[in-house]
Subunit: 426 residues, 2 copies
């Protein structure tokens, strides 16, 4: 495990309900005094690593070692900077010096954790692919390549925002099945997608693939992702080159990146493949990855409508799932991505695609949940949703739990929909 | 026109065959003495703008005005820095001071002109879309959305390289139609795609569309693009999310960006739409853009095989086309891209997709030219090509010509194919 259980002198980090105990210490970037700073979340506070460095507490770990000082260097090995941070936050003797370097999470603005060069979105949930395919091809929902190829596509990096940013409803071309012509206007089928993403730490050289057994060494850590999708724009534009404007208006990520070493206790075998499914091709197969390459991460989607907000009601949980249900592991997705020699760069984001489970209440988007609007979602206050309304706030949560281990959480990934842009409205 | 015809004291710039007369002055970035420097191409030399600034010749134009000092600020208006450069290179009185600041193009390594945040590839040639569609759907080659939507998809930014970089043949999953299962190995259907790209100068705010009449103000300039494509990987992977690893291994661009003001004399009306085609929707329609939003740019693809190179033969021209044949103008592509509020950033690259004309020898890729390998291309030395072989070098050229105006060229966009990576081969 690498880390022994220690008590943290930041009291909120010892709360069993916190997402951020001493064993998590996820990495994030925040703005404070107009400066961009790197920090680790601990309880309800942030340890400001730049301040720690300035105080002489980190040696040169922050400035000289790049991402590997923060992320793990190979499976299960907590990196030097994180080991030092555990000491600083657990040994009472450090408290007088370190406590002034903590900042309340409420007092800062979080920024994207990396300058994301390229964003790739996969389609790794076979339940999602089957549910969506069934809406369009009832007799043949899964395409023939699905069980062989970790299907993915390039997403839009510029419009990735962190939790809390308002999401403007996009306009676009849509065409109703019975309309003679398309029309341009606000999307009327706006959806969320519950996903997780993983950031690249180590690059590969252009032209050099990454063997499946080394793939995890290139992963910095994981975050929550909401890949907002305009279903009506998507269905009209997506052939033959895939989703484009239906998704490029915004993608929300949670600001804290949980490293692989923090997730070590929550590794599980890859989801078993149903009888008759092909084995992964050799470049996607590793015994080790099959045995421990998936992660047992609970996921939840909650919805807070404008009416619920006005009434002071709490968000309503509309689905729950688990990352372990994916058909492909993160290592398989990354090895596939680099298998043609495509160079991955530090800070690139690879997301899983919508995470859906087999149960009806474990699907990760409204398209599946309401069967493209045919079966509206009933909310406790009497409201219905086929798709999202302006004022709706979507909140994703993710966490790991296991007897004998502290909860490791991902914080929140939230965004509220605002009306489409019009000349003069901002 | 803005610029009067002046004689340049750099003699090679007055050669009627040069791509880079005084009226062009394309922008590029090069490496010299391990430093990244900005320059303007003039004849066979480069005017080093950093050296000019250091010598006090540019005022603060380079450092203080960002891209708009280099690109045009609105149609037809040569920007201040380019006006100053014209003076420096035409007035003999400047020659003693400026001549030492010129560098031979042969002596430097060109770099990508921008840090490309996002790369988008369109599908704007209706001839290409029809030819490719016909290979898969003989009776119904064009999909119903084509004449309404400037179809595009997100490409991979990390693997964009400048002219001259070797291109490693990618490996990937492919499945022959009669094979029971896919296999992983080197692509055997490697193709080039003749395209042009345009760089974004001014950003738009997230959520704010760009009106079609203002779209060109956001364009810095144009370059040549070769969007290398592995057709066998593409046909197996592309459903339902579009091309991914078939194209993400490499995209080659020409290093010199020709600004819109240099292209002003070569504007032409948008290609006429055949009778019965719908008019563009209002957000894609502007009278001005229809009248002068296309560009008369001649394009050529040449091939130099290893055997031709060994025999000292010249590259063989395998096709020629023209950018004016596109179904959508650059302004329409850009306005569409931002129509959902997607934020474009300075340095983003938008490419046209394969530029094909109506004539058989004006198609922009081998997939079309050889009808997916069914009709091999015959080379003068007796060689044949269905797709590209290792050692083949593909060379794109583009230029404008018109009576009474100097030739405005784009230089070269070339790349040679090398064998796939294997453990130990580099």
């Amino acid at each position: 495990m690498g880390l022994e259980r220690k008590r943290c002198w930041v009291e909120s980090a010892n709360d069993p309900a916190t997402d951020f105990p001493l064993e998590n210490l996820p990495f994030g970037v925040f703005e404070s005094d107009d400066l961009r700073r790197i920090g680790l979340a601990i309880g309800d506070r942030i340890l400001d690593l730049h301040a720690c460095e300035k105080a002489g507490l980190l040696g040169n770990l922050l400035s000289s070692q790049g991402l590997h000082a923060l992320a793990g260097d190979g499976p299960a090995q907590p990196p030097p900077l994180r080991r030092v941070a555990v000491e600083l936050l657990s040994e009472g003797s450090h408290r007088p010096q370190v406590e002034p370097l903590l900042i309340s999470q409420r007092d800062v603005r979080m920024l994207p954790p990396f300058r994301i060069g390229d964003y790739t979105d996969f389609y790794a949930s076979i339940h999602h692919a089957t549910n969506v395919g069934r809406l369009f091809r009832p007799d043949n929902p899964l395409l023939p390549n699905y069980k062989w190829v970790p299907i993915g596509y390039h997403g839009r990096a510029s419009s990735i925002v962190v939790s809390g940013a308002e999401i403007r409803r996009p306009c676009g071309q849509t065409k109703a099945p019975d309309a003679p012509e398309p029309a341009f206007g606000p999307s009327r089928m706006l959806d969320y997608e519950l996903e997780m993403g993983f950031f690249v730490a180590e690059p590969n050289a252009p032209g050099h693939p990454i063997p499946i057994d080394l793939a995890e060494d290139h992963i910095f850590g994981l975050c929550l992702v909401n890949d907002w999708s305009a279903r009506d724009i998507q269905s009209w534009e997506y052939q033959p080159l895939g989703p484009f404007l239906a998704k490029s208006f915004a993608t929300t990520i949670s600001p804290w990146v949980v490293t692989l070493d923090a997730l070590e206790p929550f590794r599980v075998p890859a989801a078993p493949r149903p009888d008759g499914d092909p084995a992964p091709l050799p470049y996607l197969f590793s015994e080790r990855d099959q045995q421990r390459g998936a992660f047992d991460i609970h996921l939840e989607v909650s919805l807070l409508t404008a009416k619920m907000r006005a009434a002071g009601e709490a968000p309503f949980r509309i689905s729950r799932g688990n990352l372990r249900d994916l058909y492909w592991t993160p290592a398989q997705m990354l090895a596939h991505h680099a298998s043609n020699g495509c160079n991955l760069r530090p800070g690139d984001l690879l997301a899983t695609g919508t995470v859906s489970g087999a149960a009806p209440d474990s699907v990760g988007c409204l398209l599946e949940r309401t069967r493209r609007g045919a079966e509206p979602l009933q909310l406790p206050n009497g409201e219905q949703r086929r798709f999202l309304d302006d004022g709706d706030e979507v909140i994703l949560h993710g966490w790991c739990e296991r007897d004998g281990f502290p909860r490791i959480g991902f914080g929140e990934c939230r965004g509220v929909l605002v009306p489409p842009w019009q000349p003069g409205n901002d």
